[in-house]
Symmetry: D2
Subunit: 432 residues, 4 copies
């Protein structure tokens, strides 16, 4: 149990984090037009406005509603309108229709945010509350939840903007990409011997212990055969070679389901790649640009990652292999904080495995499933992770639009194998 002094420090720290995350979300919207807030090009993407409201709904529903004395809902319909998928909370407005909500307006949603932020701050400051220890873990969860939505806000917007032939830029900041003509470090295989290793993290609530999501727990032993991983990520140049050598036309390189999707969707390159005047370009959050060959390839599906690996005579790493490699390294990477909303080329050599973090989410060959002994969180937030443990694949490492504080070696992201709108890329592995 927390002693009093430590406890006060933690409350202050958490309050600060809360505040800073709320502000960052708003700062991410600062160059947008009102019209941009409601775009939704597919069910999987949500309008910005919805993200802004839903992250507030999370604090209102899971914290204010339980801990605020004399709680009154901000608006009687918001519990329904901004519930993402919590059946235990109640029914949800149909996901693909979120773009049909012109009201509440953007201004009204910002007011809602402000109201929730203020009430949360009041609650955090009223330290007297006897239920603080019960509440704080949920605040920390809400902070991490909002960080996830910050990333989605950017990837959804990128996807939605791309549907517009005018190809608007999200950010007009010029990123001095010094490396775009520099040479990428040479590819090398780094080997790991068989071993019984420890995977996952003890479930921490972010108050007494370091935070992690329930899906990263429990910590458990896992036997790893020997393997090797690439010292760096696959580049656009390497992926282009795959395309040019007919990778998209050879069924034998593909998983059966992947080939079917490829044919139906007529994929012939990563998402956002297009040709203009015969030259490959790609759409970025800084607008359309000539393809930078030395950057890590991104916006590929699991199927494409797997086909590429097969073509290379390699395979994707398992999530345990990835974690084994990553857990021995410190967390560093460009991340969202770099301001470059694209992954960047690895031009400086190192003996370590490079580009593990904050560049692109790396597809692993592991289906997203519960760790041995896994238990979802108690209460309504138990729907956060567990019910999605089917049909998805685990991705690791965080991307150029993840917050650095949000990511760890044990962090498990997950998407369907045909998803391409996240910053998802490829690291290769092979058997020893």
């Amino acid at each position: 149990m927390l002693d009093k002094v430590k406890s006060e420090t933690r409350i202050e720290e958490i309050t600060k984090q809360f505040n800073s995350v709320r502000k960052l979300t708003e700062r991410l919207c600062q160059e947008l037009e009102i019209e941009d807030y409601n775009l939704q090009a597919m069910a999987e993407t949500s309008p910005i406005k919805w993200h802004l409201a839903h992250t507030s709904w999370f604090f209102e529903t899971f914290i204010l509603k339980c801990f605020e004395p004399d709680f009154v809902p901000y608006h009687p319909e918001f519990e329904y309108l901004f519930n993402s998928y919590y059946n235990s909370v109640g029914e949800q407005f149909l996901r693909p229709n979120r773009h049909l909500l012109s009201r509440p307006t953007v201004t009204e949603v910002f007011k809602y945010r402000e109201n929730v932020t203020n009430r949360m701050m009041a609650l955090l400051e009223s330290k007297a509350s006897g239920r603080l220890l019960e509440m704080l873990p949920l605040v920390v969860l809400g902070v991490h939840h909002e960080q996830q939505h910050q990333e989605l806000l950017l990837t959804d917007l990128k996807y939605n903007f791309y549907q517009n032939p005018l190809l608007p830029s999200y950010s007009h900041k010029h990123v001095q990409n010094k490396s775009s003509h520099s040479k990428v470090v040479a590819h090398k295989w780094l080997e790991y011997q068989p071993e019984l290793c420890v995977i996952g993290k003890k479930l921490g609530d972010g108050v007494k212990d370091e935070f992690c999501f329930d899906n990263e727990s429990p910590q458990h032993q896992h036997y790893l055969q020997g393997f090797a991983v690439s010292n760096r990520l696959v580049t656009n140049a390497e992926y282009l070679e795959f395309i040019e050598q007919g990778g998209y036309e050879q069924a034998e390189l593909w998983l059966s389901d992947g080939w079917a999707v490829k044919c139906q969707e007529k994929w012939n390159a990563p998402l956002y790649w297009f040709k203009r005047d015969g030259a490959w370009h790609y759409y970025t959050l800084h607008g359309p640009q000539p393809l930078a060959l030395n950057e890590p390839v991104t916006h590929v599906s699991y199927y494409e990652a797997d086909a590429f690996a097969t073509w290379k005579g390699a395979r994707l790493p398992t999530e345990q292999e990835w974690e084994r490699v990553a857990s021995s390294q410190s967390l560093k990477g460009p991340f969202l904080q770099s301001g470059n909303l694209n992954p960047s080329a690895q031009t400086q050599s190192s003996d370590e495995v490079m580009q593990l973090y904050g560049q692109v989410w790396q597809w692993t060959s592991s289906s997203y499933s519960p760790y041995p002994g896994y238990q979802p969180l108690a209460g309504d937030v138990g729907e956060y992770n567990g019910k999605f443990m089917a049909n998805q694949y685990v991705l690791r490492g965080g991307s150029c639009v993840s917050s650095q504080e949000h990511i760890r070696a044990s962090y498990r992201n997950f998407f369907y194998p045909d998803a391409r709108w996240q910053f998802s890329g490829i690291r290769l592995a092979k058997d020893l």
Copy 2:
């Protein structure tokens, strides 16, 4: 040919009309929030912003581009983005995706409108142009085109707003519906004897002659058997009786295709009807309200109109029957100008056929097909009407959101038989 004086008068009149129509469109938007301009709940509805841009595109593409000296497109992509369906002009941005265009912004589209309006005015005022007689008919066509979009703007918005559980009101003006408790005039059949009558209108360009669309021409003879029509429209009360007596459960009342749609869409009442606390309500542009039983029923499909008529032992009129009846009466009705964005009850009696105009579009049993001798307009505007002459049904009379100046006895509107989002209603007919 127009003599000079007459010609100047006509130019002034047309210029005035042009100006007034452009302004009306903008006035219709005046209470909207920016967020409302981009809603699109189904492919058939377009965002308001798109209507605003497309009606400007029409003048830019069919007039400025041909008649303006040194024409330069306002924006290189607008020809593509705001083309509705003119293949001869070029490819079109995918219709169901119009809501994905957050840019150009609403402000930018209003600037585009202003620019087009100003350039059109300049062109109209430079009377010297030798090609005036060629241009004026297209200006008139553009004016009527914009009037059609004014109606769609309102019906599309109604449909789009209805998807939002908050059920926003388009207009907060309180309409004193004096008649909502008054008694509707008694139903009577008015009879017409067999006769060879004249249907349609001579194609007029709106400059020398009164305007009509090409689909109303040529004027031709048509033999009508004897028939009778109802003296007024079918009311909500009458339609409710149909519902309560199981009209939506009896296959034998329905056309085969209609029954299939009804089952698939789970229709059990007109669009916008819903029950709240056990009582029927409907959504209107003035917001949700208790159902006014004495008003004409509206927002029914052709299939529902036909099933209702069958249930009544009657049928829908043919478009020729309707025109025969209407052409002997003067054009009067509430129309858009009344400000009541709902049809109104007929409480005052008359010996004439009542509620012909400006209340609800009346489904006829006539498929939308070319009149004998029909020729589409020459040039790109030839795609305006002719290519839609399949699978749709003709509706007559104009609605409470049509402009009075836009409607005539010979006016042919057309929609697919499953369409319900227009102000479409029912007038009955029968054989003698």
Copy 3:
């Protein structure tokens, strides 16, 4: 009312017709394998076995059930299994699933047929029955119903066989197509002056009066503007020219709905046309063959027929124009009786309009809708025609697989505008 002698003669004639139609259906199946009886490649086509059972169901349900003393159903489930679309009779087994009924077997269905035929014969021979006059019209209706299914049986089989890469032949009889290299008669326009003419037929029950379907009645006056029709049908050679000159690539030739279907279905020629070693072939009920250029084009949709006509600067005839032309000619044509299961070239000249009957169903520009004063038959058979009067187009003239006795000048066939699996072809018309 029929006097006794006349009545006995009519009973004998009808009995003979009944017998002969039942036998013909079975003769049409005589070269089939058991496996062929259950094919169903799309919902619109039914398995042969289902046709055999349903035509027996018709007599059992509408006649035996009403007129047979001590009626007992042949099988308790057959009323449900073999009901096509009569809601008043009861629910129906799902149409697209008919191919899933391996049982009853073909042998069992032939036994069912035999049983129904025998019981019908017994009923017809027990002339004493007081309800004969009530029954006979239904027998005649059943005979005509079975003739319709004979045609469907062949067109459905053709469609279903075509899905098999082995392209089986239905008939191995060699048809000496003497004309396949002969020259088709020259195209000419034959003109008709404006006139108030009589269309349709008095509803006859086939007992006292000549039979017709309810949809051909009532006979009524119709005013026709002047028009011209082609003296013969459009040939494969002419249609090939349309293809080669880009007819399938020019949106401006097509109805809007037609263009959408064409694009989605990737049509680039009539159904059953394919290229082998660079040369056009077509699949026929006699197997695959090189395309005979002088034959009438067939297996085109309404949309293709309309686009072809537009390309020719002509149009399709209305059904009234067609009937006006046909009613002045005698009924002659190859029909099913010729044994040539393909339309044949017109190589012998005539001053009359040629190829009106028994070659290909000719698309008219008329939507299938009720004639003025139309009333469906009383009772359950009222669902025969009326409820389909929406979204379909009228075709006239009968085809090479129609029975000659089944067709008349007033006969109205109807299909959806995208249907191509019937022997549907093109006759041109134009305004004077």
Copy 4:
């Protein structure tokens, strides 16, 4: 390498197996009507005739074509028509359309089978061939392949028959189900301690070594946490309790994807369960019968199995847990050989884990993915297993319609999580 004597014995054994498997396939068809051979109610099921041809195609394509001197294909189109999914062999006839092949007829397919069987026998008897050692493993693979299709033949037929309201019986043999009123043994948890165990099997070709599929290899170490498993399978009675207590209405019990499928497909019980006069029945290959409460539940999807386990406070076993349990027991079970085409109740007690084999395939929580170090077979047969390693779940144990000789502890079957037409059931597990 095999010495000569041993080799001759193996050839004889394999020849015998080959012969016996070919005969069993044919025996399974012996009570069918010709009409039954072509049913295909969904893409995932194939017509019986197609199974008969495809299993012959396998031997013709992978063995005769390579090893038969002067090989000539039996029919030029069969390579295309009866290829299931081997892209390296060539294109395939569209899977959902297999029911459209009325030709070749059943008789012709049996002739094809006979021809292939005879040629295979001739090849096996010509022991002189220098390539015997290369060929024999493929013969063994073909034998196991045909055994898989024997099971599919029965499960596909069950599904297809069920679409027919007549609910035909596949087998009229009366199975004396002595146990249908006997009491099922009590449920117990059997515990297993943590251990590093060996999973999988060394790849054996079935000639020198015991056969296994490539997906069971390589044998490798796997660390297992402690766990417990149920001593027997979940029964219909237990599953019925889940239904009656609202299991199908509580979203919180379900995986998110499972809930979506359940809602869309309107599942409220296992496949083949239906109510008749208020009492639960189920359709079996012996026809419709009252539900036997003491039998293992079967025909449930992964989603239902998982929801049931969650409701019980348990979970499904991983495939490694299942294999750990099963590998210590001998292979026994009813299997196909019992002639009871339904799983049977466990009424006799035992201290071992019961009902592991030959009852129902047991869903595991393991995604179907490659074992560490997995390599697909060389050559075209490399497409057999590997390319399906995505989006499916592993099932273990074999069912009442699997051949006993086909199953082992390491055997991995796999299906999509929404599949219900296999004999799939539930064994529970939990953490220690």
